[in-house]
């Protein structure tokens, strides 16, 4: 079920970009909306999945601290490192999306 859903999503995304680059002249104009859709979907996926990752990391750290309070310090530092890595991923995605939107490396 999940595979079929992912395949459908991938096909829809590929098809929309293929349709966007169908004709030569309108293709340049169509890069704008396509880039807007791509950035919106990209940022939604990045923010959602990074939030999920941070939540799972915090859950594990809380459980670990509850089981072994003496290891709380080490767990906190590991948690901070993990959260920083995850957050930097989200910020990278944000910058790439902003580049797509404002710097427009694809034209238009």
């Amino acid at each position: 079920m999940r595979k079929a859903l992912l395949m459908t999503l991938a096909m829809v995304l590929v098809a929309s970009s293929a349709f966007a680059s169908d004709a030569a002249a309108p293709a340049v104009a169509a890069v704008g909306p396509t880039a807007a859709w791509a950035t919106a979907i990209g940022m939604a996926l990045a923010a959602g999945l990074c939030g999920l990752g941070q939540g799972m990391g915090l859950k594990a750290a809380c459980e670990g601290t509850a089981r072994n309070p003496e290891a709380g310090g080490k767990l906190t530092v590991t948690l901070i490192l993990g959260l920083a890595f995850i957050e930097s991923l989200a910020i990278y995605a944000l910058v790439v999306n902003l580049i797509l939107l404002f710097v427009k490396p694809l034209g238009a």
Partner: protein
């Protein structure tokens, strides 16, 4: 000179709520890496846009990291509502960071790649920290003649 600076930064961080030693050292390393990297980038590139973009990215991610590490130290001890608070803080930070980066790119014409390099200082800091921790944990292997 550097030792005095490190001591002063450590004392300031302790006063600001970084009670955990390792978290304090991590934040201090980030501050030093961001500052030294920014100065080097601005000087090496001859006060170019790239250098200032690097500095802006480093400053932005250092503020972000400060907020994150302070929140993480508190959240581990919270028993209820930690997940919701973490998510709200994460999305709040992301929103503010996004607004700041968009302003920098669109209005101030900052170099996107300079910003990316500046934002990467936290990844470099965390990776260096991890490598140093692994190196400290590696036991000394003897030559078999100790016994």
């Amino acid at each position: 000179m550097l030792a005095v600076l490190v001591q002063k930064i450590d004392a300031m961080l302790y006063r600001r709520g970084f009670a955990l030693g390792d978290a304090r050292r991590l934040m201090r390393n980030q501050m030093l890496l961001g500052t030294l990297g920014s100065v080097a980038a601005v000087l090496v590139t001859g006060f170019s846009t790239w250098g200032f973009s690097f500095a802006a990215g480093a400053l932005l991610i250092s503020i972000n990291f400060w907020w994150l590490s302070k929140a993480a130290q508190e959240l581990v001890r919270v028993r209820q509502g930690a997940m919701f608070t973490l998510l709200m803080l994460f999305y709040g930070r992301l929103l503010l960071t996004g607004a700041a980066i968009a302003l920098l790119i669109v209005w101030f014409g900052a170099s996107a790649f300079g910003l990316l390099a500046g934002l990467s200082t936290v990844v470099v800091n965390a990776t260096l920290w991890g490598i140093l921790q692994i190196r400290h944990k590696v036991p000394n292997v003897g030559n078999g003649k100790e016994a």
